[in-house]
Assembly symmetry: C2
Homo-oligomer: 241 residues x 2
């Protein structure tokens, strides 16, 4: 169970509200398993549940541990998220490379975890040394402080991207198709045929440029057949036809 997503380990989170918001961020990224090491407040309090905003099940199923060692005991690959440079010899990944490293281990059948420290201080060195490597989220070095749930969101988002095989949705056409080039050119020629009396059309050189420009404009617009019909209507109206 949960073998295909990493668990999120919050080490000594201070505020129940932040745990709730972290659960919400996890759900945004399709992460499910939450582990808490010595939370200071009750993660099932009204404040936490309300902050989780429809992610209560993550809080309800969260496991509480007395130490970080116990929380990572059954995991095979753990990444620790830190903002500052740490005095430890450890591989440091950017969030995307770290997410890719986790995805590789998961595909290999390993149980993985993403570890986050307390709000004010971040992870202690004795927690970090339990992790295989470090994740740094690349942000403005002059202002890189994130709240806990934002850190979970950014790392979770990078992991989600590795899993979702997301391709750009591309051009959304609303119940119609993008016009093919023949139709676009037909429209352009129709328009051009109405320009015989246009001043710029009488000079052969200017005319050539004008035609190229117009064709570029309407080609670049990636119009649908519906939009092309709309333009025909407009031009018919303008030219009094």
């Amino acid at each position: 169970m949960n073998s295909k997503t990493p668990c999120v380990i919050l080490v000594e989170p201070q505020l129940a509200e932040n745990v709730g918001m972290a659960a919400r961020a996890m759900k945004n990224c399709a992460l499910r398993e939450l582990r808490l090491v010595n939370p200071r407040e009750d993660h099932l309090s009204a404040k936490a549940l309300s902050a989780s905003s429809n992610s209560e099940e993550i809080l309800q199923q969260a496991k509480v541990f007395a130490s970080t060692e116990e929380a990572v005991a059954d995991l095979q690959y753990v990444l620790a998220t830190t903002a500052r440079h740490r005095d430890q010899t450890k591989m440091v990944y950017n969030a995307d490379a770290g997410a890719a490293a986790v995805a590789t281990r998961l595909a290999n059948g390993e149980k993985c975890g993403l570890m986050f420290g307390p709000e004010r201080t971040g992870l202690r060195n004795e927690d970090i040394c339990l992790a295989d490597a470090i994740i740094n989220v690349p942000l403005n070095p002059e202002h890189c402080s994130l709240n806990l749930s934002q850190a979970v969101l950014l790392v979770g988002y990078e992991f989600y991207k590795t899993q979702a095989a997301i391709s750009a949705p591309g051009l959304v056409t609303n119940h119609t198709t993008v016009a093919d080039k023949e139709k676009v050119l037909l429209f352009c020629k129709n328009l051009e045929s109405r320009l015989e009396q246009f001043a710029n059309y009488k000079d052969e050189h200017k005319k050539e440029k004008l035609v190229i420009n117009l064709r570029n404009i309407f080609t670049r617009a990636e119009m649908t057949e519906q939009e092309l019909n709309t333009l025909y209507g407009v031009i018919n109206y303008l030219s009094g036809k």
Copy 2:
């Protein structure tokens, strides 16, 4: 001024606190210019300033506009962030592809903007049609609601990544260098020389396997010279030398 980063346009934000948190997220991502269209609350209120957490200057320099049209008037390329599919024929980018599109236009000298809608409803169609394309942040389709500042953070983060020429920091070694292979092998041989009386060492086949395994372990560990010295000390101690 600000020609190298896109401005952030918040259309009719409801809560001053969210505007403050959005300013904080902007600073995380090194974005500077904030534009507000008809904010419901005062973006310079104590609540907003406190939520901005050391990003007050972004709020203080924010410009307020009476309409989205005025807010985008001087921009050449605008992306609208939406969570849901919209009934408009418009290019839809994932956040990373959208950020790359903006980066390309900025490099080209164009002024760009990232537009976000009100907390509850998101952008209206009449705002979206002022944008060149749409940004969708890829998230769990079963739970993709983000608060305003998180949406700004994720899109800003993707933009930051395009600008920072960020490479993985790699292995952090603390005032010492990674040991070269000669030193690692010397250590392995030293260790092996102490195993003559070890049961598995007497069977030639088992010995061969053991040596390979040990050498793999210590090679994979990417040890620094300092760590290697520590291990020498441990082994000397264990073997009573």
